[in-house]
Symmetry: D2
Subunit: 404 residues, 4 copies
């Protein structure tokens, strides 16, 4: 009778999960739901292989944290069995609050809530179900546990989340620029004054990691066609909410999703019902509903839905400087001529916006541990100014307009 | 102004598609739909990374056939520009008739039809739309074109379909046993007496390919948990059809799918409506509808749906010999005790069946071209009897029963 | 102060070796010598990347046995610290008795000795130097230790030697057919009745492993051009020994190698001098001497040497049946006409021989452990007769002749 | 009868070389010699897998230039058959002037000559042998051919040499930080005003390439232990030259190498003899001779040789600032105490030096071609100052001393 379950993973070969609470959590419907939430939303419209899910990512991050804990213990860091388990649980569940299409629809479906807040809600619900066995995990997740480095593994510049998703996203998109040496970085981790640090030898791997992150931002996460698709999806949900009643969407919307469209539901997440309802929706409900709406009577909504399903995305232009008023005006005029729409509907068909990114957030430092025992921020430790530069926030502006 | 579009592919790096009819076909809603049809159905419940789509596979097969055509031309094989294009189109569209969950629901949703028949229907529809530009492709696909080797590239023991899917399925499941040397095999292709042959040097690669195929069958395609999930899905659709009217499913089923549940629609696929209707359904509709049915009033259907969504699959036992009557009886009795169901419903909760596989079909040979110009079947050419053995049909029997 | 050293390995990423006797052994001149012994002899003349050394292979096997020991311990197998260390040492040193060009010149340079016998000699010498710390390792290596499964890890159908070399040879030659899932196989290892077994789940990986081994034999280890190069090398050393004194080779031969050419030295390996002398020769000495002999006064030797250095290898023909006498006669006549040589020299320029291979040696079984606790030979456990067939000994015959 | 030869390559799968002059050149003893010249000299003492040769690298660069030529032609760039062949020859032979241990011993063995000068000499010799068929290749190599972009492919910021060696060195060392997307970069190449440019889409790949190059410098090419080994090798050759006659090295040195030690031979490379003599020496001669010298009567030389062969390298310290006089003094005193040597010999056992590196040489620009047809230096085109920073020359200082 084996005491563990093995998952195949194209990245790491095998992921081994011991039987017990970790496997019970994986088998829970809240986690199984993540099989139906893609990690990268609509990116598959640009990178056809980018279909991996939050479920797979959660397993991958669990695998990495198992390695990290083993390495730290071998280096003499004191981690109890309970802390090891708590950290694994925290990493496994770190993204459980993500809804359909992950970041794209965050705070659109459930206004005033982000996925971290939902993660906490769901963790507490699971803690009740599992009779308090998640208390330490929650404490680590919320950075209330005294051993801060355990929280660093769950959330921070070098957390297992990032170490997994950069590699995984890079692998599935086929953008090899993002491949990082997670194994190398993990082997270089250590603890100093209660905080997670990287040994001097790992400095080049970290530099590579930060650069990979920046490249992945511009090549994948903020790729202009991905942006265009996401803006289209957001506008679809906005419009659906706006005209939900008048257009008779109720009968042609998947019911689990319908609940979140009909009213402002930010109210009271403490009610069991709301957590349960949230955990019922996934990517399939959104896609299926959008396909139904292609035939609804609101022309704006049906046009937007048809555009998305048939991949006739907005034409998008990225720019390092703010979009000129005249350019926006031009786009609007073209759209008006084409679609015969009124001013109120214009923002659905021609609009501007901006996105930002900084690869290295200087507030949450990567600390390097030197052989002589001193510690300093990698931005000061690296022999080239690459890293300090990466903390610069880069903002890009975009102009979108519907095509013919 | 570039004259091609580049797709990233984790397997091949870049897939380059020239502008023109190939790209127009890729942009057509019928092809875009394949973004929403997973190549391996429910296998992701066992292999979390196996989420790749028919769309990606079609691109991959296109990429391989481009290479094959180039190699053959370099070897002096006469292929005109039109034939090259026709073969590429035939390969690109070879799976366009697949419906939701590919093979799993084949002939369940549309009785008496398989995906090849639907592919032909859709190709003819596209041929009308594209003013006859697909005629040669259809002729090659249907093996009516005199140069038989072009058809061999599209469909046969060593077609681009298999060369792509073995690698792709192996890659995304992480089952490295299935990795084959597509590039090597393609470099060894040649034409002899109008048929596709493999040069002698490639004999080990072919042997490896056939073995990989066999291993993929047992480890992935017919993996017992995958089988269990597929049987559950099939039973769900069967039950939904059976009680469609009485259980009031109409209002809680995605409308595009509903059409295929309400009646026997095998009738007349010549009608435009039916092709269009078929091309509207995808994996998302099935998943979303199943989630709705979890709350329907038919207990059998709601139980089955809940089992699938929460991944409480049938317990399954595989066997090399037929299932004993007494074992089936036992299973049924357990299920009756557990679920309090009547005999009529028993087959949804406890049942037996069988699956077969032969890695090498001796009717459709792989021909080896020797240096002295002679040609023979690989089953006779290989120095070990491995290959002839692989043409043995292996049948396995299974017994499924719902768990608590 | 770190307590381990990290080696980069393209196959496994990082190989971690703890400080202490393992690292001391690695730093010993006898092990450092393996940096200069290629794993695959002259195969680089066919596969330009096949330059990896016995040193790298020894590290790789050490890495795998570390994993195997960890897995077995997690499964509850009793392995003491001393046994773990002894097994690691035995694996690290398992090939230390290899001389220049590994198998090719085995028993040519030191008649009546093979590399296992030399390995034992060297291990004993090291045991003296290290004050008896290798005693347990030697006992495990010689299968005198009661826990037989530890010996199985060092030497057997599934030893770490094979698990490393198949992957490593496949990786460096670029013959992807040989890639095996070492990690998978190791995760499936267990112990039953004191013997190493593989859990049922690993059956396909083993099947793949045996097939890979067979393919590597024919594509690499017994590749006809590799064979041709090896025969040439053997003939060069034979001729050099034969005419060592008369041709004045002493002054143009690297002195460490000269010792082994001048006389029959199979005598007394117990003498310290002989072990030391053997550990002084490597690939470089052989290559360098051959380059010098290109200009010696024995025409036969200088011809053979020039052929090897300039890669004008024997023309070779492989055959499943013995070489016909008439074919050998023809070859000899051509060579006589070409080189004007007498009968005595003929065997250096035209000759026949044979090689054999069986992928699975049925005397040394791979045992499969089933879920019900029973154990059986994989040849009986697999559902297809592939494996039993692989225990057939395949013999191939070759005919070699010098080209113009 | 095939018209090409296939080489297996772990990086690119297959390298196909058409029969004719390319294959004839590969078969020439001057090229075969490169089988015995390692690409990375002594780096294998740090990275055990780094044993790949100049021969393999030359094949790899040839493979890449074949792809580049094909891509450029598809984009409408005018390249005649003769120019395509000339460029391939130039790339194939670009490193043929490298001697034993490549860069390490450059200008030590043949003073006042570097490998480019020797390459030219050897190309001219081959041109005579091949009846002028290399004239165009030489013209392209020397940048005398009017189509400058062909020279750019052979030598420049983005030449095939770099695209191959970064990947190859990264692959064989296992330092994954250096993996670059050669295929991607090549697909983005174009020609503008007669110069090689990169299309805008490739900007991130180039950025990654330049960063990878920098990381490879510090992690591999200038790794401190590699530096230490190279300094040791250089000192060995220097000492051997210095005491060649007095220590009686003649009889214990491989004769082909002896020629280069006995006298200053920078004289007249036009003489056939010298090119021939140079092409006779390789890594094996140096290693074999060093092993002989371990037992010579000059204690300094024998000590240094023993250090190298047994891998007891200099202790080395790297620093961003010049080595303090007092530190060098300390080192010298330690060495004197230890080895009882006189002042004259001190520089062989304790010494300082420096190395420099700039990843991007701003004199030889990478030009980016924008969609609007404009062209600019990547240092100006990239949205972050990373690249301009990389043109900073970084100098590091080192202090070496022999260990006990």
């Amino acid at each position: 009778m084996t005491s563990y379950k093995i998952f195949n993973d194209p990245l790491y070969g095998f992921i081994t999960v011991p039987k017990g609470i970790l496997l019970d959590l994986i088998d829970h419907p809240y986690m199984q739901r993540l099989h139906r939430i893609r990690q990268l939303g609509l990116s598959y419209l640009v990178y056809p292989g980018a279909l991996h899910t939050r479920f797979h990512h959660a397993l991958g991050a669990l695998h990495l944290v198992q390695q990290a804990i083993e390495i730290l213990k071998k280096k003499g860091v004191d981690i109890t069995e309970e802390e090891a388990m708590g950290t694994q649980i925290a990493v496994l569940l770190h993204d459980i609050g993500h809804g359909p299409f992950s970041h794209s629809l965050e705070s659109i479906l459930v206004p005033d809530f982000n996925h971290e807040m939902l993660t906490i809600q769901i963790m507490h619900r699971l803690n009740e179900e599992f009779n308090g066995k998640l208390s330490l995990a929650i404490s680590i997740f919320e950075n209330k546990h005294p051993k801060k480095f355990l929280h660093n593994l769950v959330s921070g510049q070098l957390d297992m989340d990032r170490l997994d998703y950069l590699n995984r996203d890079s692998f599935y998109t086929g953008v090899s620029e993002g491949v990082i040496s997670s194994e190398r970085i993990i082997k270089m981790l250590n603890v100093h004054n209660g905080e997670l640090v990287v040994e001097q030898k790992g400095i080049y791997s970290i530099e590579k990691f930060l650069i990979a992150r920046r490249l992945m931002y511009w090549q994948v996460y903020l790729h202009k066609t991905v942006l265009s698709a996401e803006q289209l999806l957001i506008n679809i949900i906005r419009r659906a909410k706006e005209i939900y009643n008048e257009a008779g969407l109720a009968s042609i919307t998947v019911s689990s999703l319908a609940y979140f469209l009909q009213s402002n539901i930010s109210v009271d997440f403490g009610k069991e019902d709301l957590v349960n309802r949230f955990c019922r929706i996934d990517d399939a409900d959104v896609i299926s509903s959008i396909k139904e709406w292609m035939h609804c009577k609101d022309e704006t909504l049906s046009s937007l839905c048809t555009m998305l399903i048939n991949r006739k995305l907005y034409k998008i232009r990225l720019s390092n400087t703010p979009i000129e008023k005249s350019d926006l005006e031009d786009a609007r005029n073209q759209v008006i001529a084409l679609y015969k729409i009124n001013d109120k509907l214009l923002p659905y068909f021609a609009f501007e916006g901006s996105v930002t990114n900084s690869a290295y957030n200087s507030q949450d430092k990567v600390l390097i541990l030197f052989k002589d025992g001193t510690v300093c921020d990698i931005a000061d430790a690296s022999d080239l100014p690459n890293i300090s530069i990466m903390s610069t926030v880069v903002r890009k502006y975009f102009l979108c307009m519907a095509k013919i």
